[in-house]
Every structure is written in structure tokens, then in C-alpha cells.
């Protein structure tokens, strides 16, 4: 292609992502977004203005070399695109699929102001998938240092930390409580959004290249304690996430038919309950399901429920049923990724905005028969800067549902902290850490990802894994010692920061 002028580039429309038809995909768990082909990817890449001051990179928590990888891509130099990408991001096939680009890299792309930013995420996915299929850019391990590191938790934070330390020649062992590695990528995010083979392939590859060992079925705090790990290893990273579900504080939460989104998604994704009885773990889905909350977790739960309803209807006849999302704020405040919200709407999820549950109603057999709600209106801005929803008196009404899935947030699971001392935590349960080094209050222990920030994003957890790895490397190389551990300037992070 001849070199285009900026004006010409800006006239190319943002390329649409081919996707499975919304009506059809309700009957399966196959991936929804199908990915660009090479021609579409190059056309999209042509839209990038190759800015001298690429503002897009400011929006990326791991600082992906966005203009570089796009330039290589559009020149047809895929190997170069992969190298540029892997420089900062070891998991592009995953981030390209799950990053909330519209509030990160694409939000700060100069073209965003003109309506349509470069589809950075989709291009990143294209590069990631290319690399997954061909493995042109192997992870290289530096000469062994003889230092041993334990990483607790195999989510994006732990994995990234392990990879970064493995590359620097340290011997890494990951301890994971579940039977499979990947954290939320494997138990939470559904197959139709992030195929599990991608997560497995990325993890297996990194382990192979860098000789990292993963010990599954090891619940740190129970199977082995943090203090025991410190006796065996030179340094420890905690990336145990925020996996403890918050339940609603309303009457009826223990009725049959009420479950946390974590339970619902774990059954469906990790245990493959959508294939019951071929797989043993059962799942029930109501005829009318209410999902409380409107984040990514809620969207995922709603869309899994909708699929299970349709698959049941296909098998047994009858109407599939309805799935509602009940959210106390309005459409503008929906925290989920834009694409997921859009896909959920397309698939037929019904949104009840400005609505808050007050009670879960049960029948004589203690099964859910309804959800009592109250309508809300937006009042003054609250601490988060969003307008606070307040109940409208007398607006109570009953939503006719037989299942309630709660997706109103999670906090760090406290099991890892059992039988250990000196590790300070905030009252929200997150680990106190110095945000520039991710050192905790316990010498030789670093922490990052959701366990420090509370529920956040995949790429921010990866970023934390990198920051910690860099500081851990300095420690392992003897640049500072345990006595210089806790610098005076350390402050507790503010909630949600």
C-alpha cells in the first residue's frame, strides 16, 4: 500500500469486529468476537497516525509500544509486530480480548476525540493470536541466578511476576489453590469471551520456556503457610486476587436459587457445568433470572445464564426464559466493558436500571419466587464522583424471578493470611503495599493485583506483577537488604486506588 496522508487515514472507517450472530450465539459457548483477518487488520492499522507523542500509550497500564507494533503490522512485518508487543506485554491474546480499551489505550488515542479511536485492542488480539499459532518470539531465560522465588496465586498478577522473574534467571515456583492455573481468566471469564485453550497455551508455554513449576491444590495458609514459604524461598509474591464474594445484605440470601456470581461462573467455566451430565458438576438455571450488579462479572453471569436457558429450551422445548440485570445506577454508570454491555443487550438481556433489591422472596419450599426491588433516582455525587442513587419512597415492586445471582463485588480471600504475622491489611481486607515497589509490611513479601487494589483489571494486575518483579530482582541481586525494607515514605493506599 502506498503511504497515505493523515487525511486519507482518517477517512478509513474503524473496522468492525466480525462476531457470531447474536441470535445464534445464545445457543453455544463458542467465542463471540471472531477476530480480524489479515486484510482487515492491516486496514485498521492504516488508520493509526503514528503520533510523535503517542498519547495512546499513556492509557495502557503496561505501556505497550502501540505505534511500533501497529507500524510493523501494517508493513506486513508480523515478526516485528510480535517483538514490539512482547517487549511490554507477554499476554496480548488475552489483553486484546479482555482489556476495557475504551477507558484505557483507546480512550487516550488522539482519534478518540474525533469519534473513532484506532481499534488497538483488536489489533493486539490479532498479533497475539498470530504469535500463539506460530511462536515466533520465544521467552528467553537468563543464566540461572540460584535464587528461589515462590509466587502465590496463578492469576494475571502471579503469572506475569513469575514470567518476569523467570526471564531474569530466578527459579520460580507457583502455588495455586485450585486444580488449574489462570485465576479469574480460567474460573471467571467465560469461554465465549476468552477461550480457555488460549489461557492454557500461554501458561504452558511460559512454564516450558522458563522452567517455572506450578503446584496446584496448594492452598497457602492451609497446605503451607506464608512463613513456611519464607523459610524455603528467597522472596515471595502474593497475587491471590480478590476472590471472596460479597453477598447482599437483604433477607432471603440463603434461599435455594440464590448464588454468588463466583459460584455460578466457577461451576460453568472452571467445572464446565454447561456440559452436564458429560461433566459431573451440575448447574441450575432459572426460567427467570435476576443478576444484581452491572460490572463485567454481572455481564458474564447474565450471558452464561441466557445461554444455559437457550440450550435447555433447545434440548427440552419450551421458552428459554428471561435474564434481568438489576442495577442501582443508570446506563451511563455501567462499569462493564462497553463491548460486553453491548453484546449482552444484543443477546436479549433485559436491563432494569435505577433499581435496587430490598428482599429476596421465597416460597414454602424456601426457593426463590421473586425479588422485591425499589426504584432509585440519582442524587448528589458520592465519593466515587458518580451520582449517588437514592431510593424513591413507595416505589417498591416485585420482579417475578426464580433465581438470583449476586455480582456486587469481591474482596481478598483471607485464607492466605492464616497462620502468619506482620502482614498489614486495610479494613477492606486488601494488603498494604508501597505502590512504587509493591513491598508489603512483611520483609521479603511483595503483593500485587486485586489483592492490593481490590477488584480491578487483568492488565493492571499484570502491571503490578511486573513492578513487583523488577523490585524483587533488585533485592535478589543484592541491591538492597532486608534491613532497608520498609522505607519511611510508604503510605497505605487509599481504597480502590
Amino acid at each position: 500500500m502506498a503511504e497515505l496522508t493523515p487525511k486519507e487515514r482518517m477517512q478509513i472507517p474503524r473496522q468492525e469486529m466480525p462476531a457470531q450472530d447474536p441470535l445464534e450465539r445464545r445457543y453455544n459457548f463458542n467465542e463471540v468476537a471472531l477476530g480480524f483477518d489479515f486484510e482487515t487488520a492491516r486496514r485498521e492499522a492504516e488508520r493509526c497516525l503514528q503520533c510523535k507523542n503517542p498519547t495512546c500509550m499513556d492509557g495502557c497500564p503496561v505501556g505497550v509500544l502501540i505505534p511500533q507494533f501497529i507500524r510493523h503490522l501494517r508493513e506486513g512485518d508480523m515478526a516485528g509486530a510480535v517483538v514490539a508487543m512482547k517487549e511490554r506485554n507477554s499476554l496480548p491474546a488475552i489483553c486484546g480480548r479482555v482489556c476495557p480499551q475504551e477507558v484505557q489505550c483507546e480512550a487516550t488515542c488522539v482519534l478518540a476525540k474525533r469519534g473513532a479511536p484506532v481499534a488497538i485492542g483488536r489489533l493486539e488480539r490479532f498479533v497475539g493470536d498470530y504469535e500463539l499459532a506460530r511462536r515466533t518470539c520465544p521467552l528467553v531465560r537468563a543464566a540461572p541466578t540460584g535464587m528461589r522465588v515462590a509466587v502465590v496465586g496463578s492469576g494475571p498478577a502471579g503469572l506475569t511476576c513469575a514470567v518476569e522473574l523467570g526471564r531474569r534467571g530466578h527459579q520460580v515456583t507457583i502455588f495455586e489453590s485450585l486444580h488449574a492455573a489462570g485465576g479469574v481468566l480460567i474460573y471467571g471469564i467465560p469461554e465465549f469471551r476468552l477461550p480457555k485453550w488460549i489461557v492454557h497455551a500461554e501458561i504452558d508455554y511460559a512454564m516450558e520456556c522458563l522452567g517455572i513449576e506450578i503446584r496446584t491444590d496448594h492452598v497457602v495458609g492451609r497446605t503451607i503457610t506464608l512463613d513456611e514459604l519464607l523459610a524455603d524461598y528467597d522472596a515471595v509474591f502474593l497475587g491471590t486476587g480478590a476472590g471472596l464474594p460479597t453477598l447482599l445484605n437483604v433477607p432471603g440470601v440463603n434461599l435455594n436459587g440464590v448464588m454468588s456470581a463466583n459460584e455460578f461462573l466457577t461451576r460453568v467455566n472452571l467445572m464446565k457445568a454447561y456440559l452436564f451430565p458429560e461433566y459431573d458438576t451440575p448447574i441450575k438455571v432459572g426460567r427467570k433470572v435476576a443478576v444484581i450488579g452491572a460490572g463485567n462479572v454481572a455481564m458474564d453471569a447474565a450471558r452464561c445464564a441466557l445461554r444455559l436457558q437457550h440450550m435447555r429450551a433447545e434440548k427440552e422445548g419450551g421458552e428459554p426464559g428471561q435474564v434481568y440485570i438489576v442495577y442501582r445506577r443508570s446506563r451511563q454508570e455501567v462499569p462493564a466493558r462497553a463491548e460486553e454491555f453491548h453484546h449482552a443487550e444484543e443477546e436479549g438481556v433485559i436491563f432494569e436500571f435505577l433499581t435496587n433489591p430490598v428482599e429476596i422472596l421465597g416460597d414454602e419450599q424456601k426457593r426463590v419466587r421473586g425479588l422485591r426491588c425499589v426504584r432509585m433516582q440519582l442524587g448528589e455525587p458520592d465519593a466515587s464522583g458518580r451520582r449517588r442513587p437514592v431510593p424513591i419512597p413507595g416505589s417498591e415492586f416485585d420482579l417475578d424471578v426464580d433465581m438470583v445471582i449476586i455480582a456486587v463485588g469481591t474482596t481478598p480471600n483471607p485464607v492466605v493470611f492464616l497462620n502468619t504475622y506482620g502482614l498489614e491489611r486495610t479494613k477492606e481486607g486488601t494488603v498494604v503495599a508501597d505502590m512504587t515497589t509493591l513491598r508489603t509490611t512483611k520483609p521479603r513479601v511483595w503483593a500485587g493485583g486485586d489483592v492490593v487494589t481490590g477488584a480491578a483489571t487483568v492488565v493492571s494486575a499484570m502491571g503490578a506483577g511486573k513492578v513487583a518483579a523488577a523490585d524483587m530482582h533488585r533485592f535478589l541481586c543484592g541491591e538492597f537488604s532486608e534491613s532497608e525494607w520498609w522505607p519511611a515514605q510508604v503510605e497505605a493506599p487509599t481504597a480502590g486506588a
Binding site: R222, E263, T266, N413
Partner: protein
């Protein structure tokens, strides 16, 4: 992969297995459990650590075949493997010198009560054990229980062995005749509920080990939640042992029924599958004879 080192059938439906699981054995204590998974398609099921040998790196589990997963587990032989064995999970028993303790074990619940009774005995308590089963065949570990009890009462529902009674009957008599400081009970939820009702009028602190449905066993899903004194508690992390008088039994019993239909379907599916598998094996056998 965790190898089954020993397997013993204690009755048609009761199995004892010794697993090679050094990571669990090294910290296991009485009252704790593991989550096991047989193969790629299996569910994760909780089973109590009925015994452990730290130096050998093994744990003993004992289970009753009640549904698909336990039936399949029952078909495994020595030398076979389990894909998952996570633990030890839950809080260990709070062992102390209480005085006289009654340990009640019902059905397969005798296995989990055994290490508890042993620890309590070692701590200097006088142990009166009451164990029971539906019928003689299903009664397990009588000999083991005898070794850790000062007194052992055995009963069966149908009178085929020991006294013809539910465990709550001798329990009631003991409570009326003797000074008892504490009661421990493990068994089917319905039995534990009646134990709680039996000890309540005497105001004797009673500990039970709850067995709700679980998924992860690490506090991540909330499937195992029960109401204890009106509060939602996760059995896998905060339990499994709780004050019997605080448990909302109706809620627990109802929640255990939630997947009844699916459990039945799973067993049907499994039996059909086993049939086809056996047929195929027979065919293959015939084929071999023909050619060989």
C-alpha cells in the same frame, strides 16, 4: 496426581482408601477435610481426612457411595490416581481438656469422629462414644473407635447388631445419667440436627461438623454457606465444625437438596455409560479370543 495406595471395601457401599498426598499429610489435623476430583470431567467433592500418617505422607479417606462421584470413586483400585487432592481444608478441632466428652458418629460419620475422639482422648478427656448405622453391614471402624473410647455404645436402626436404636436414644440416657461436659457429633445432617435437639435441654455445648454442598472449598464461591446464629458463614473456611445449637438446620437441609434432580440424572447417565463401557469391553474380549 495422587495415587491410591490402599483400598478396602468395608461394605457394599463403604470404601476406605489411603492416598499418597504428602502435601496434605504434613499439616493435617483432626476435623479437616480435602477436596478431591477423580478425572478431567469430575466435580470437586469434600471428604474428611479420617486419618493421616505424616512420615509416610499419606491420608485415609472413607466414603459412602451415595451418588455419581462417590460411586465412580468406589470403582477405582489400588494404583489408580486422583487428579485433585487439595487440603487440608477447614479449621482443625479445638482440642482441650473438657472432662467427659460424648462422641457420636452416624453412618460414614464414624470415620471423621475417629481422629477427633483420638485427639480428645490424648488431651485427657474421658470418651464415651456412640456409633450407629442403618444396619450391621454399614457399621464401620468399631474396632478403631474402641481403642480411643473409655466406653463404646453401638447401635443399628434395624437391630441387626448392637442395640436397636437411633444414636440419639443412648445419647439421651447418657446425658440423663452422667455428667457430660461436651458432645461432638458427625453424621448425616438430619442426625446431627437431632443430636442438637437432644443436648439442648441439658445445655451441653455440642459441636457438629457440617457437610453442605461445596465447589472450591477455599472460600471463593459461597456455595457452602450456612446460617449460624442468623449469620451467613462459609463452612469450608470458617468451619466445618460449629456450635450445634446455633445452626439453622432447616436451611442446611433444604440447601443440600438443591441439586436433587441433577444428582439423579448424573447417576442414570453414569450407569448407562458403565453399561456401554462393559459391553464394549466384552466385545473387545470376544474379538481378542477370535484372533488370538
Amino acid at each position: 496426581m495422587y495415587t491410591i495406595l490402599k483400598k478396602r471395601k468395608l461394605s457394599d457401599v463403604t470404601n476406605e482408601m489411603v492416598l499418597d498426598a504428602p502435601h496434605v499429610a504434613r499439616r493435617a489435623r483432626s476435623g479437616q477435610f480435602v477436596i478431591v476430583r477423580i478425572d478431567e470431567r469430575s466435580e470437586r467433592i469434600p471428604l474428611t481426612i479420617a486419618d493421616y500418617d505424616r512420615s509416610a505422607g499419606t491420608i485415609t479417606i472413607l466414603f459412602q457411595e451415595v451418588g455419581k462421584s462417590t460411586m465412580q470413586l468406589g470403582t477405582l483400585q489400588e494404583g489408580d490416581h486422583l487428579l485433585t487432592c487439595a487440603g487440608p481444608l477447614g479449621n482443625p478441632t479445638r482440642v482441650d481438656h473438657y472432662g467427659t466428652v460424648v462422641c457420636v458418629g452416624g453412618g460414614v460419620g464414624v470415620a471423621p469422629i475417629f481422629p477427633i475422639a483420638r485427639d480428645l482422648k490424648e488431651a485427657g478427656n474421658t470418651i464415651i462414644s456412640i456409633i450407629g448405622a442403618r444396619t450391621r453391614q454399614l457399621l464401620i471402624w468399631e474396632d478403631r473407635m474402641r481403642t480411643v473410647s473409655d466406653e463404646l455404645i453401638v447401635c443399628t436402626d434395624d437391630g441387626s447388631y448392637g442395640r436397636k436404636a437411633l444414636v440419639t436414644e443412648p445419647l439421651k440416657e447418657v446425658l440423663e445419667q452422667r455428667h457430660v461436659d461436651r458432645v461432638w457429633a458427625v453424621g448425616p445432617a438430619i442426625m446431627m440436627k437431632f443430636v442438637a435437639l437432644t443436648t439442648k435441654p441439658h445445655n451441653i455445648p455440642t459441636v457438629v461438623s457440617l457437610n453442605p454442598i461445596m465447589v472450591d472449598g477455599t472460600g471463593m464461591c459461597g456455595c457452602c454457606r450456612v446460617l449460624i446464629g442468623g449469620q451467613v458463614r462459609f463452612v469450608c473456611v470458617e468451619g466445618p465444625q460449629f456450635d450445634a445449637h446455633e445452626v439453622d438446620w432447616e436451611n442446611l437441609l433444604m440447601r443440600m437438596q438443591y441439586y436433587k434432580d441433577e444428582e439423579r440424572l448424573a447417576v442414570e447417565h453414569w450407569k448407562e455409560h458403565r453399561c456401554r463401557l462393559e459391553q464394549a469391553e466384552q466385545e473387545a474380549e470376544k474379538e481378542r479370543h477370535r484372533h488370538g
